[in-house]
């Protein structure tokens, strides 16, 4: 592992962690508001994040901006399969129950909600079970 070169990603992650907490994105209650259409907050966050990311990618492509090491920026295309439907529905259900998607799980643990370690381990178990029995699910 190249420890030093990976530290920059840790710093970007820290910024993300700060935003997660300060904008209450990791709040179970904000997620409930979102799924009940009781607040614009989460829609504003996800929508403006998509917009800013989209414009940034267009700029990178239009001006052929290279990475800091001079590589061409490559985005691997995602292929459609039925998992995006079935898996998507299952994840949505879990999101509503736990009030957290994978990123906020890490952030919730960081704020001291240590019981969320169990939620995270359970999510790892869910991932493992998917990987183990992958071929039995429609793809």
């Amino acid at each position: 592992m190249k420890l030093i070169s990976n530290l920059k990603y840790m710093i970007v992650g820290m910024v993300f962690g700060i935003v997660f907490v300060k904008a209450e994105i990791i709040s179970w209650f904000r997620i409930q508001e979102m799924f009940r259409l009781q607040s614009f907050h989460m829609y504003g966050i996800i929508g403006s994040a998509i917009l800013v990311a989209m414009i940034s990618i267009l700029i990178i492509k239009r001006f052929k901006i290279k990475t800091i090491t001079g590589e061409e920026v490559v985005i691997t295309p995602k292929k459609f399969n039925k998992g995006q439907i079935y898996g998507g529905l299952i994840f949505g259900m879990g999101w509503a129950i736990t009030g957290a998607c994978p990123g906020p799980l890490f952030a919730q643990i960081g704020t001291g909600a240590t019981v969320v370690i169990v939620t995270l381990l359970s999510a790892v178990a869910g991932t493992w079970v998917y990987g183990r029995f992958k071929d039995s699910f429609p793809q």
Binding site: S5, V15, W28, I90, G103, A123, T127, Y130
Partner: protein
């Protein structure tokens, strides 16, 4: 109001959203890395419990940047709760407060509802569903879908990938259905 009081307030969506959006070009320009959190759950499986399963046979060390990224999320959240946390209660929609009061939830001061999601409740049916079962669905569903809110909703849609749009629609359908029609029964337990 001094700077510290100002920064301790909750940040509005138009500050948080664009900052998150900038993570996408940030990771691309730092090293051609795609934004996506749930892949880490797979990397943890590949590193700790691969059990000769083909899905976990790959060089996870090449993806270790992402584990550093989530470690950063954890640290950032820790430092924020240490120094920058908002001293006031969350300002929630009164309809939600009324609904949840009906289930005996009265503490809205924390980001994670500690009245339900805590170590003591872990082995009650309600706690088990909210913590263990919900977590399992998050891990299983995101891997089956090939991504979560970051990988599909933000990275995928912003790079104009229609499978990610479908995944995101399904996230929302599953969430709306569960929050409105199933969660009330869980919270009544």
């Amino acid at each position: 109001m001094n700077f510290l009081d100002w920064i301790k307030q909750p940040w509005p969506w138009y500050v948080a959203g664009p900052l998150i959006g900038l993570i996408v070009p940030g990771l691309l320009l730092l090293g051609n890395k795609p934004f996506g959190i749930s892949a880490n759950l797979r990397h943890i499986c590949a590193a700790c419990i691969p059990a000769k399963i083909p899905f976990f046979q790959y060089d996870w060390k090449k993806e270790s940047w992402n584990l550093f990224f989530v470690l950063g999320i954890l640290l950032g959240a820790y430092l924020t709760s240490l120094w920058l946390s908002n001293p006031d209660e969350l300002k929630l929609n009164s309809k939600l407060v009324n609904e949840l009061s009906g289930y005996g939830i009265h503490d809205f001061s924390k980001l994670v509802p500690s009245e339900m999601i805590n170590w003591t409740n872990l082995l009650s049916l309600k706690g088990f569903i909210l913590i263990v079962f919900g977590g399992f669905m998050v891990g299983f569903g995101t891997r089956y879908a090939g991504g979560c809110t970051s990988g599909h909703a933000i990275m995928g849609i912003s790079s104009l990938q229609w499978p990610s749009l479908i995944a995101t629609i399904c996230f929302m359908v599953g969430g709306f259905f569960t929050a409105n029609l199933i969660l009330p029964y869980i919270l009544k337990l």
